[in-house]
């Protein structure tokens, strides 16, 4: 019984020391923070008017916050940005404010509580040395032996508080500091990973759909036409043996089927990677599309447009689909295509038609969106009833 109580007390004692090891330095660093806080407030005010909201002394603040990150066993962020907009700089500042006030208070409390317990226990040994008109105050003024001998009981309360309240207090403040200082497993990164995973899955899906489409086109178009050629040539052969006059219509049919097969093959090839892209570049290829578009259309190409083949191919496809849609559905009298390249390749297709383009009903827009999503790009369409319609596609170029 006594033994178990002793062991409990011992473990409490160790907990308290641990709490003190954390909170006593907090009292010191909190106090130091409080001392320099006017300076920090000044730098923040300066940062608010500085170009790019750059915070003077951000690196010193980072170093200061990093000592605390170290103490909390948290990762030290690598972020050269010193702007107030940077999330790490914001965290540094928030922590600084908290540490200079709440941190210092918590730290002081943690130091004072055990000292008060010791003090109260010692009061009976020294209270009588203190001048009567300025007595020892340990929760109450000690002015008599009776009051002095009661004081160790007060010390017990302090001791109990130190043993039982300090460890949870330390844990709470540690958790709070961690929440303020340490990025939560980096949210942005997690989100980016999720986006990339999704777009990669979409890319694979689009790739699979593309392969199926190509296979179907080759099978239904080219292959069947060539079988028809072989079949009609077989019929020609039979006819020539029996009655050569019968052969001519078969020859003509075989010829037509061969021409069809070639046309189909050309379409399939073009849908995989339009050869014109390699020869003329994206702007040249798009100019060709525009020349074939029945609706009068202008082309503006800003800057050098060269992009990876997959991006150019998708861009070409987007413009081709958009122009087909305009010609078929929009009732437009004029259209324009704008191509520009900064980091992303941006395609804007505009028309003055009657608008109301519906993504659900047409396969064209859904096709555009799938093809764009496969490259981690974005496609937005604004098409109010009555028009005009604007399609804007941004394709990242992997740089």
């Amino acid at each position: 019984m006594l033994g178990s109580m002793r062991r409990r007390l011992e473990s409490k004692w160790r907990d308290m020391w641990q709490a003190l090891r954390l909170l006593a330095p907090t009292a010191l660093t909190g106090f130091a923070s409080l001392l320099v806080s006017p300076l920090v407030v000044l730098t923040v005010v300066l940062a608010l008017v500085a170009p790019g909201r750059r915070l003077p002394g951000a690196t010193a603040l980072r170093a200061w916050a990093d000592t605390e990150r170290d103490r909390l066993d948290g990762p030290v962020p690598v972020s050269p940005d010193t702007s107030l907009r940077d999330p790490v700089v914001r965290r540094d500042l928030a922590w600084f404010g908290m540490h200079a006030t709440l941190g210092m208070a918590v730290g002081l409390l943690a130091v004072v509580l055990p000292l008060s317990a010791v003090n109260a226990a010692m009061v009976p040994t020294y209270w009588w040395v203190v001048p009567e008109n300025d007595p020892v105050v340990a929760t109450y003024p000690v002015t008599s032996w009776g009051l002095a001998l009661l004081n160790p009981l007060v010390g017990l309360i302090y001791a109990a508080l130190s043993l039982y309240a300090l460890p949870p207090l330390a844990r709470w403040y540690r958790a709070l500091s961690r929440r303020v200082l340490i990025m939560p497993a980096d949210n942005r990164l997690a989100q980016r990973v999720a986006e990339l995973t999704a777009s990669r899955a979409a890319a694979l899906e689009a790739h699979g759909a593309e392969l199926r489409r190509i296979e179907r086109d080759l099978h239904d178009g080219t292959q069947n036409r060539l079988v028809a050629v072989a079949m009609h040539l077989g019929l020609v052969e039979r006819a020539l043996r029996r009655d050569p006059a019968e052969a001519l219509p078969m020859v003509l049919r075989a010829q037509d089927a061969a021409a069809d097969a070639l046309a189909g093959l050309r379409d399939v090839v073009r849908s995989i990677y339009p050869p014109v892209l390699a020869e003329r570049g994206l702007d040249g290829a798009v100019a060709g599309l525009i020349a074939r578009c029945p609706v009068p259309c202008s082309l503006t190409a800003v800057g050098p447009l060269r992009a990876p083949a997959a991006v150019e191919s998708a861009a070409y496809f987007v413009v081709a689909e958009a122009l087909t849609n305009i010609a078929k559905h929009s009732g437009a009298t004029r259209a324009s295509v704008v191509l520009s390249r900064e980091d992303d390749l941006v395609i804007e297709v505009h028309d003055d038609g009657h608008g109301g383009a519906d993504e659900e009903s047409g396969t064209g827009l859904a096709g555009i969106r799938r093809r764009v999503a496969a490259l981690d790009g974005t496609a937005t369409i604004t098409s109010p009833p009555g028009g005009p319609t604007l399609l804007r596609v941004e394709l990242p170029c992997g740089s």
């Binding site: 069947n224 028809a228 050629v229 079949m231 077989g234 019929l235 089927a257």
Partner: protein
Amino acid sequence: MRVVIAEDDALLREGLVLLLGGEGIEVAAAVDNPDDLLAAVDAERPDAAVLDVRLPPTFTDEGLRAAVEARRRLPGLPILVLSAYVEDSYAGDLLAGGAQGIGYLLKERVGKVATFLDALHRVVDGGTVLDPEVVSQLMVRRRSDDPMSTLTPREREVLALMAEGHANTAIAELLVVTETAVSKHIRNIFAKLGLPPGDTGHRRVLAVLTYLQGRP
């Protein structure tokens, strides 16, 4: 002879009608989907069906499933399947219900009209006709512990020709050997594949099946 045709490509379908019609084969129905094919089989009770593997609605293996169903409705109905490419699992599906009166050819074989008609006749007569492409693909897949691996190259040739539906006389002609030599090869094949003596016609089919499925 009366046949029904299922082919979704209009040009090919018309071509087949023309081709078969020109050879005195009556085309009782030429349809473009499996449902109409089965209806035509029920209504016309043809001597054979010629059909494409890929038919609507999904263009995967509707033709094969239609073939299996047609043979269920009209047991023993000779069927010649045409396919744009070789897929030995298709051949396996087709032959699972018995190899007699089954043919599986690449589509382009219709260009060699005489060979195509010969194949059709052999299927109608209850033979098994497999495209040489199917046969060579199956040959590649053989495992080393397979009885097939004990056959000599010549015996394999003979078996391949059997699989394509040729009779001994034709095999002898094609390999430029005597018919006696062919018979000897065939006896060796039966022995190596562990096929018991008995009805020769039946054993031929079993040998071909062994050949196709890698098991007796």
